[in-house]
Symmetry: D3
C-alpha cells in the first residue's frame, strides 16, 4: 500500500539514497506492513528550483551541503 514520494535536493549520494529507501521502508515494516508493499520514489530537485522563504535555495542556502 504505501507509496512514499521524497523530494530532496539534487546531489544525494547513492549511499544516502539507499539509506532513505531502507529507512522509509522500515518505518512501515515496523508497523506490520510487508516490505513488498512499500514503494519509495525519490525526486531530486535542483536547488535553484526549490524556494524557501521566497528565495531560491541555491542562493539562500548556498552553503548548505546535500547529504
Amino acid at each position: 500500500m504505501p507509496v512514499v514520494h521524497v523530494m530532496v535536493w539534487k546531489g544525494f549520494s547513492n549511499a544516502a539514497k539507499k539509506r532513505v529507501i531502507e529507512g522509509m521502508t522500515r518505518v512501515f515494516t515496523d508497523l506490520g506492513v510487508p516490505a513488498e508493499a512499500v514503494e519509495v520514489i525519490l525526486h531530486e530537485i535542483p536547488k535553484e528550483n526549490w524556494g524557501v522563504c521566497g528565495e531560491q535555495a541555491s542562493e539562500r542556502l548556498k552553503q548548505v551541503q546535500t547529504p
Copy 2:
C-alpha cells in the same frame, strides 16, 4: 529541505501517524539533516480510490487491515 508525501489507506490510527512522522524524520536526521527542515505530509486515501492490479483495494485486499 526534504518534503515527504506519504500515501496510505484511510484509517491509520493516530499512534501510527505519529510513528510514521517520527520515523521518516529520523531517517533524515540520521543523515545530518536538521529535524526542523523535514516536512512529512500524510495523504489518507480511501481503499476504493486505490487501484492494485486493476482492481479497487477495497475489493482485492478487502481483508487487509490498515495499521
Copy 3:
C-alpha cells in the same frame, strides 16, 4: 513500477472509479508491464479547491457534471 496519481473532482461514482483504475492499468499491461506492478491512486478534489483560469471550478464550471 508505475504509480499513477489521478486528480479528479470529488463525486466520481464507484463505477467511474473502477473504469479509471481498470483503464489506466490496461494502458500499462498493453505495454508489457505486469498488472501487479501498477498502482493507481485517485485523489478526489472538491470543486471549490480546483482553480481553472483563476476561478474556483465550483463557480466557473458550476454546470459541468462529474462522471
Copy 4:
C-alpha cells in the same frame, strides 16, 4: 501548461481559497502564460497528518491559526 498543487492545512476559508487560486494564476499571467492554461489544485491536509520537526502540527503548532 502549469499545474500547481498547493498543500495547506484543512480549514482554509473560501475567501482564502479564492485568493490562493487568483494569486497563483496571476503569477503566471504576469509571465505571459494565458490564464486558461493554469490549473491550481488545493489539497487540504488535517493538521494531525502534517509532520513538522518530527511531530504532528496538531500538537507542535496547536495555537497557529489557518487563514
Copy 5:
C-alpha cells in the same frame, strides 16, 4: 479537469510515452470528459531513485526492461 501524474522508470521510448498519453486520455473521454480537459504528466524516475521492498530498483529489478 483530470490531471494525471504518471511515475515511470527513466528510459521510456517516445512511442511508449505517446501510448501512455493517448491511453490515459481515452479512459476519460470514454467517461464523457472532453479530451481538452485532460492533462497527463509523465515523471521519469531513475531506477536508483525508486525503492521497492527496501532496495533500489536498479539493484533488485536490474534485469527488468523499461518499455
Copy 6:
C-alpha cells in the same frame, strides 16, 4: 505550512523561476503566513512528457514558448 509543487515545461529561465518562487510565496504572506513557512518546488517537465488533449505538448503546442 504550505508546500507548493509547480509543474512547468522544462526550460524556464532563472529569472522566471525567481518570479514564480517570489510570487507564490507572496500569495501566502499576503494571507498572514510567514515567508519562512512557505516551500515552493518547481518540477520541470520536458514537453514530450506532457500530454494535452491526448497528444504530447512537444507536438501539439510545438510553437508555444516557455517563459
